[in-house]
Subunit: 211 residues, 2 copies
């Protein structure tokens, strides 16, 4: 692996494990067993590394969000789609973990993070419209806005909530539970089909965490 | 005002405004226009101040949460109750803003924060049971658990979501909007009464932010 790639991978793993705030460029050089000078040759400090990591995250998130258009229709499709989205967030989890501090420190990233959140919101709106268009849910426009907020909030703060609650689930189980939580929010808008769909979702969830 | 109280008030205002991570005990002494030695006479460093602030927050939160028992029944009662809860959180907002970092740094506070969250959860459960007992909502036990999670998540991450979205609402409006969001989650479980209740909630919300 090229040194540049090795630096990025190691930085990501270190920030995810130990939190970004406590780590310096020198700490990172020590973990990599290279000199600070060699690190500096590739990246002009920790800020530069964080910016490249954010760019990678942003590119991958936009690909995933853009890829949902028109292809996500069955329960299983939606499950997989949200799973992939959350897995991507998990891979870059330090951005979400220390969000307040990071947004304060890097105002340019705050703007771009806000852009990603807006795209996430549009994707959720499109999915709800799709379900509504197919007659699978019936929902008042005001409640549809609130439901979008709820799903967005679940898909943004799941890692923080898990951290506070200290439940310490294996990542795969935590992701499946979050997919279930996000998807189950539409159940009350499904009318009589809701009870059946909830049963199918629960079965799918139990199967997923048993695998 | 006694010096000790003045230190606590100023520290809280400073942490809320500027974030806790960037502030040192010396910064705080400068804002207070007292010597670091005088500050140290009252509190043995920033950690001691944070612990006392957390104790104050904890005491007030437990009083509010405990006070809901049996007295919150009408829509207006519930609105006021959640408003007071969120106002309390707003007063100590730096704990929520930099939560991940703070929980890492103070493991003892993480345990107590977790305890507060558990008490918040029990209060929400009790409110939902109360509504269910009076026949105002009908809800499957699985969905009731998920609804509790949603409300808890809304009441915990509202400040973070507002910060990321950068909407910059006046605090009172933001609190009213969050009360509306939390309460509207029960609408789909109200059956035919739901549409009427949503109308009443919207009117109450619009009145509240116009005042």
């Amino acid at each position: 692996m090229k040194t540049r790639d090795r630096i990025l991978r190691t930085a990501l793993a270190l920030f995810n494990e130990e939190g970004e705030a406590e780590q310096t460029a020198v700490d990172l050089a020590n973990v990599l067993e290279i000199s600070p000078g060699n690190l500096y040759y590739h990246f002009k400090g920790k800020d530069a590394i964080i910016h490249v990591l954010f760019e990678n995250f942003e590119t991958e998130m936009r690909m995933i969000l853009g890829g949902s258009d028109g292809v996500v229709s069955t329960l299983e499709d939606q499950w997989v789609f949200i799973y992939i989205l959350l897995e991507e967030i998990y891979d870059f989890r330090f951005f979400y973990r220390d969000l307040g501090v990071l947004l304060d420190r890097y105002p340019d990233l705050a703007v771009r993070f806000r852009g990603l959140l807006a795209e996430k919101r549009r994707t959720i709106e499109a999915l709800l419209e799709h379900l509504s268009g197919r007659g699978l849910i019936r929902i008042d426009p005001v409640l549809s806005g609130l439901l979008t907020d709820q799903i967005l909030s679940t898909l943004t703060f799941w890692l923080s909530l898990d951290q506070i609650e200290g439940a310490d689930l294996p990542p795969g189980d935590l992701i499946h539970r979050t997919v279930f939580q996000a998807m189950a929010t539409i159940i009350p808008y499904m009318g009589d089909e809701g009870a059946d769909m909830l049963g199918r979702m629960l079965a799918h969830y139990e199967q997923a965490i048993a695998d």
